[in-house]
């Protein structure tokens, strides 16, 4: 009797242990999704918060967010993708570079109308010719200048009035302010073919012909704009450090602006949140409209989230993409990082930012003033490499390795070759 009771206890114990261990076995497989992000600064906590919420709500997915420097982004992703080691999802500025590695999200999307929720002109860059959708535009960007108001006031000057201020008026103001206040540099433009194109557009030039099938880099209008830009670099209005000393790729001048070594800085809305944090109450600054010459300037742009086909969990990738592209996620991201929205509903209703609404409205106003050619250029699938080529050739002209004419002729020849 005692033996059978003991046996029963042992059996019950074993059964309980087995039952509890079976309960501990996860009912679903947990997949880790590699998510590569480059950061402009304050967007990092925003995306991290979104990822944390997603991870908490989706126990079968662990999103591993990794940060890479923007200057190395294309190199890293191209290498990884070519080696079959691409991440599952990445934030990029030139999605067409990764067309061959794109994951068609359509079969896995819960909401089949998801791609239609975004600005069509931008969504097309994450849509392949066969209709495959491999991502969405996560934020819209607009180029524009920032000006140090405190320095202008200290110099006893005031901002020009109206919406159609020429570049030369802005440069005059910046030079006079720099001279009066002892600031080393009057103006700077990011070392970027994208930013340069915005400048060129104002003089009626551009990289691509209106139909986007050919290039016009050595057109008279583009040459006029580049001559002016090169002169600004050569005469000391702009710091040589940014374009001549900017190395092999992109270089910005935001630290010069934050350190009050620069009066006028042409960059874009993605610097907003960083300036709010880094400048704080140290001095007053303001976003102004791009210069207007033949036409008003500016350049649209944006960042995209794309999915790669090497993923082992495409359905889960689609779930992550739908979450990150949802209205709530995009709105939260835009408010924290001062991005411009890409969703049609938010574009219609607007985003309420926690501060600097006037500055954000200046960027939004600039979108309406931009020439159509700016959109043609930016949304051309060869824009990235051609913009890099123009940037490098213009640098050669700045340092005197080539004349402007030679630089543009060579950029034109290379660009034509890239289009073949």
């Amino acid at each position: 009797m005692r033996t059978s009771r003991g046996l029963s206890i042992v059996l019950v114990t074993i059964a309980l242990v087995l039952a509890s261990s079976m309960a501990a076995v996860p009912s679903q497989q947990v997949d880790t999704l590699r998510f590569v992000w480059f950061t402009d600064g304050p967007d990092l906590p925003a995306i991290q918060a979104l990822v944390d919420v997603f991870n908490a709500k989706n126990p079968d997915i662990k999103v591993d967010l990794s940060i890479v420097p923007f200057a190395q982004l294309n190199t890293l992703l191209t290498t990884q993708a070519a080696a079959g080691q691409a991440p599952d999802v990445a934030r990029v500025t030139e999605p067409y570079r990764f067309d061959s590695y794109a994951l068609d999200l359509r079969p896995y999307l819960q909401d089949k109308s998801f791609p239609k929720a975004f600005l069509a002109a931008a969504q097309v860059l994450t849509t392949l010719p066969n209709g495959a959708v491999f991502g969405f535009p996560s934020d819209f960007t607009m180029n524009g200048p920032f000006i140090n108001l405190s320095l202008v006031q200290k110099a006893g000057l005031s901002l020009p009035k109206g919406d159609r201020v020429s570049w030369s008026d802005w440069m005059d103001l910046a030079v006079k302010t720099a001279k009066a206040t002892g600031v080393p540099y009057a103006a700077a433009v990011d070392r970027s073919g994208h930013r340069l194109d915005g400048f060129i557009q104002t003089m009626g030039g551009g990289y691509f012909t209106p139909n986007g099938k050919d290039v016009r880099i050595n057109s008279p209008a583009t040459e006029k704009a580049i001559n002016y830009f090169v002169q600004l670099n050569k005469n000391g209005t702009m710091p040589l450090e940014v374009w001549a000393g900017g190395g092999a790729g992109y270089a910005d001048a935001r630290q010069l602006f934050v350190n009050q070594q620069l009066v006028f800085y042409v960059s874009g809305n993605w610097q907003m949140a960083f300036f709010r944090q880094a400048i704080g109450n140290k001095f007053d600054w303001k976003v102004v409209l791009n210069g207007c010459e033949v036409q008003c300037g500016g350049m649209p742009g944006g960042k995209f989230l794309i999915a790669f086909k090497d993923t082992k969990a495409p359905a889960k990738v689609a779930r992550l993409m739908e979450y990150l592209g949802s209205r709530a996620s995009i709105e939260s991201m835009d408010q924290t990082a001062y991005f411009l929205p890409t969703r049609n509903d938010l574009l219609k209703e607007g985003v309420k930012y926690p501060g600097n609404n006037d500055d954000m409205n200046t960027f939004i106003k600039g979108i309406g003033l931009m020439p159509k050619a700016a959109f043609v250029d930016n949304y051309n699938s060869h824009f990235g490499p051609i913009a890099d080529e123009v940037r490098d050739r213009v640098t050669q002209a700045i340092i005197g390795e080539l004349t402007v004419e030679q630089a543009l002729d060579r950029a034109q020849a290379t660009a034509k070759d890239l289009l073949k």
């Binding site: 294309n74 340092i399 890239l418």
Partner: protein, 313 residues
Amino acid sequence: MRGTQPCASRKAARGGASRAPTAHGRLRPRLAPYLFLAPNLLVFGVFIIVPAVWNFYLSLFRVSLQAPPAYVGLANFGYLARQDDVFWHAVRNTVVFVVGDVLLILVLALVIALLLNAPIRFRGFFRSIFFYPVLLSPVIVAEIWRWVLNTQYGLANAFLRAVRLPPQPWLLRADYALDWVIISHVWATVGFFALILLAGLQAIQPALYEAAEVDGATRWHSLRHITLPLLMPSVFVVFILGTIRAVQVFEYIFVLTGGGPGFATLTIVQYIYRAGFQLNEFGLASAASLLLVTVLAMLTVLQYVLGRMGEAI
């Protein structure tokens, strides 16, 4: 006596008949060296030979962003030779860099090695000082020099301002950016080569100097007729190693100047990087890398041939 007994005799002594080796037995000694080499050959094949063949294959194609790769034969090589001014810029910069870098290294490494071989005080300390930059990553060294030569807040311009001289755009002028790249690279690497020459100097028999001194030779005579001739094998090693390293230089210049200003410091390896990863012209990048491999292979053969000639002498 037993200890030196041949194996076959030992077998015979143990009563075993001496048998002719089987085919299997004959094959084993022949196969053994290849078996030992196999792991290395496998790694070499997978990571060197296969990518090299693939690289050659890729150089025959035009690769673009959207279209599938298109076979173009030797057109990429033709484009490099006739049309691409950036490539020739890179070739010229690479030649200037290699000649300047190797010459400076040869002279300075020799001087440093001679000084460190002399009976001076704190010799060990100075040896460490000269070798120290070699221990640093090229990226760190480049960052240090970027700071030293920065126009705004760099150490070099701070010194110039202190002595009331105008600051200089050291790395921002196309005419002398490459000079500064060479100087800073020599600073970073000369310690390694000085060490090789120092080892060569220490292998020279002191008796030779004593005999020369007895015969009335001056220090200059000893240097010219004893030190330099006997140091030539080490100088040759420094020359070849320095040349190969200079031709291959990438990360150092990439961090220091990025090949700029303009293309003033762009070398061939950076050209390959630019063609591949910025312009997405992987066929062109492969063609250029094949040309680089050819130059490096020629240098390696030269090293081998001259090395064998040295042994023969």
